[in-house]
């Protein structure tokens, strides 16, 4: 069986759904970061696949961008996470409700 575009896209969708569920269900901030990473990488798979399909490098370029930004975001995010953990001794999401309306 030839592995075509559709397979990649299905993979991307499945990954995205996993990420989405993770984003919704996880209460641990660290795991939430993992879930967002899965989301971003699901998109990266899609970008790369479509880029290859059209023979246009822009998509792959975007994937690199996403990876770079995801890395920097994670760096900032983890930094904040550590600070939070030092202050409150927990990284459970339910304790972070100071933005309640």
């Amino acid at each position: 069986m030839e592995i075509g575009l559709n397979h990649y896209l299905v993979l991307s969708t499945i990954l995205f759904c996993i990420g989405l569920i993770g984003v919704m269900r996880r209460k641990n901030l660290l795991l939430l970061f993992f879930a967002t990473e899965i989301l971003l990488n699901a998109v990266n798979v899609g970008f790369a696949a479509i880029s290859h399909y059209y023979g246009d490098l822009t998509g792959q370029m975007f994937a690199f961008f996403v990876i770079a930004i995801a890395a920097s975001e994670l760096a900032v995010g983890l930094g904040l996470l550590i600070v939070w953990h030092k202050r409150h001794g927990t990284i459970d999401l339910d304790t972070m409700t100071s933005m309640r309306g």
Binding site: V23, L93, D94, T97, S98, R100, G101
Partner: protein, 641 residues
């Protein structure tokens, strides 16, 4: 002549303004004197105008300035002195001069002396506008003006609850009628394009009958209010709360006759719609007997005279409705003289008795108040219509009119009323001046009024006596230049004599009966125990046929309660609550949805996902719909949508 017209018109205004300058200061005798002099000036000017019109027969017509002008509407302040208005001017200025002079004595001890003259003169001014105006709008100015002055004067003693209540009642009831009048004016304007009498009357000939009937009806509704015709009559009796000179001037001689004047003035209209005329005559006859019956039992001198006025107004309307305009105007004039006299006499009695009004508590006042007694008796004789006093000529004429026109029901009613009139008039005369002395026991020490008050009244007395036989013919010749000169002669002489003598005998019998019943020793102050006082008829009459009660219970109360419902229930609980309700929807939406904003990152992320999914699915749905819009339309049209 125009000069005199302006003097007659504006002298009362000057008088009113002059007196108004002193309203804040204590009583000043000269205010009364100067006001009286100014009104007398108006009287003299009116007299000059009268001689001018009698001599030359030419009508004085002036236009002072524009009042309102917009679109096609053009209303000037225009004044006309013709045979009809000059008659009214004479009556108004004469009676008001006398009442002004009389008031100097009557209001002697009142703290509002200066204010009283200001109001009284303002009334005269309004009345002059009413009668002299040459258009319906000007008439309406006077019409409302006299209503205002009547309000001020009825409520003159404003510390009394009853007086202010009566004042408001009179004003509001007149307002109801004024609406009718206003609609009549609108009808005239939109159908004839003008409000000037001459222009409008000329155009009436070309209008269809239905329109004319409506105009006639609406104008008459206006007249019904001012002249206190049933069912708008209750205010007149209550208006007796005002000072007595006011009752004499406004509620007997002048203002209440404005309705009659209006009908006479619009005779060209009413001549075209005899069916409305017949209605007016029937209502007049009804009011004549209706008011007379209420006067039979009343225990308040002023109210008896007020009902008598009402009854006489009924006579005037009967005559005017039957097309005998000059007769109506003649009775108006004669009535003004003797009724004003009667009221002023009543005022003397009231003064003497410290404002006691119940004739049963008087008796034998004739000993101390001879002058007043003579005047009131003669005025009553004139009112009863005994030959040769004024009432005989004017009132019998109305009976003849009804008879000659073959309105026998009206005739019979009016004839019977003549008997009642004689009875109730002499009932109070007998009770006040004759019989046993019942007042000393109650601690009253009556005294005669000031000399000058009696002297001031004497012109009225003279006119009440001689107006009939001296003035009838010249008057007839004068006014019939303007009004239809229908003479009312009963064809057979025998019938005429039988009728006249029969009426006289009937009236005399009524007088005799009144004297007999109320001069005897057994008359006592009624205490509610006698058989008569408990009879149904008495109760009906003393309660004025329960009409005021009905108005109070079913109209005033209902209006008051409905108003409260409008405010408390509708305005607050429906209209405003729905506005606040709409505002609350937004407020509550915000209040309820703020829980979404829990600050919990994972809840918010859930919402975010939900929103994304919703938006995406919407995009898909719209995308599909746009793509397959052709097919969808076909399917929908196939379904018959």
């Amino acid at each position: 002549m125009e000069k005199y017209l302006y003097i007659a018109l504006f002298a009362p205004l000057v008088s009113s303004l002059f007196a108004a300058l002193f309203t804040a200061t204590p009583k000043k005798q000269f205010v009364g004197i100067i006001a009286s002099l100014l009104i007398f000036t108006a009287f003299v000017s009116s007299a000059i105008l009268l001689t001018h019109i009698l001599g030359t027969g030419e009508i004085v017509h002036v236009e002072l300035m524009t009042w309102m002008q917009t679109g096609n509407l053009y209303i000037p302040f225009g004044f006309v002195v013709d045979q009809v208005s000059v008659t009214m001017m004479m009556v108004v200025t004469l009676v008001s001069t006398i009442v002004h002079i009389y008031s100097i004595g009557y209001m002697d001890h009142d703290s509002g002396f200066n204010r009283f003259f200001s109001y009284l003169s303002a009334f005269v001014f309004s009345m002059m506008i009413l009668v002299m105006s040459d258009n319906f709008a000007g008439l309406f100015i006077g019409w409302e003006g006299v209503g205002l002055c009547s309000w001020l004067l009825i409520g003159f003693w404003f510390h009394k609850e009853s007086a202010t209540w009566a004042a408001n009642e009179a004003f509001i009831m007149n307002r109801i009628a004024d609406l009718g009048m206003l609609i009549g004016i609108f009808l005239i304007y939109w159908n004839t394009g003008t409000l000037q009498y001459d222009g409008a009357f000329a155009a009436f000939a070309n209008l269809d009958h239905a329109t004319l009937t409506w105009i006639g009806i609406f104008l008459f509704i206006g007249a019904m209010g001012k002249s206190a015709q049933f069912p708008l009559h209750t205010w007149l009796a209550d208006a007796m709360e005002g000072p007595t000179p006011v009752s004499a001037l406004i509620h007997a001689a002048t203002m209440v006759t404005a309705g009659v004047y209006l009908v006479v003035r619009s005779h060209e209209l009413y001549a075209l719609i005899p069916n409305v005329g017949l209605f007016i005559a029937s209502l007049g006859a009804f009011v004549a007997i209706f008011a007379a019956t209420m006067a039979l039992v009343n225990r308040d001198i002023k109210r008896v005279i007020a009902y008598s006025t009402l009854s006489q107004l009924g006579y005037m309307f009967a005559a005017a409705g039957l097309g005998a305009y000059w007769v109506a105007l003649f009775h108006l004039m004669a009535h003004a003289f003797f009724k004003a006299l009667l009221f002023l006499g009543g005022g003397n009695v009231m003064h003497a008795m410290n404002n006691e009004l119940d004739p049963f508590k008087m008796g034998a006042l004739g000993k101390t108040m001879k002058g007043t007694m003579i005047m009131m008796t003669l005025a009553s004789v004139a009112l009863a219509g005994i030959f040769p006093l004024a009432g005989f000529f004017s009132k019998d004429l109305i009976l003849e009119v009804a008879f000659v026109d073959h309105h026998f029901i009206i005739y019979t009613v009016l004839l019977f009323t003549a008997g009642l009139t004689a009875f109730y008039s002499f009932r109070i005369i007998a009770l006040i001046f004759h019989g046993e002395d019942r007042h000393t026991a109650l601690g009253h020490h009556p005294h005669e009024a000031y000399k000058f008050m009696l002297v001031a009244m004497s012109p009225l007395l003279i006119l009440a006596i001689i107006a009939g036989f001296t003035m009838k013919m010249p008057y007839f010749e004068m006014v019939t230049e303007l009004l239809p000169a229908t003479e009312y002669h009963i064809h057979s002489h025998t019938t005429y004599w039988i009728m006249t003598i029969g009426t006289q005998v009937f009236v005399l019998l009524a007088i005799f009966f009144a004297y007999k019943k109320y001069m005897c020793r057994s008359v006592k102050v009624p205490d509610g125990t006698s058989k008569m006082e408990n009879s149904f008829a008495y109760k009906l009459l003393i309660n004025q046929y329960y009409i005021p009660y009905f108005y109070e219970e079913y109209i005033v109360k209902a209006y008051r309660e409905l108003s409260v419902v409008c405010w408390e229930q509708i305005d607050k609980k429906v209209v405003d609550a729905s506005v606040d309700g709409i505002a609350n929807i937004f407020y509550n939406t915000g209040k309820n949805t703020r829980h979404m904003q829990s600050g919990n990152l994972s809840t918010m992320l859930k919402w975010m996902v939900a929103g994304t999914v919703a938006l995406l699915s919407l995009a898909v749905v719209f995308g599909l719909a746009a793509r397959y819009s052709g097919e969808i339309t076909t399917i929908l049209s196939g379904l018959g949508v």
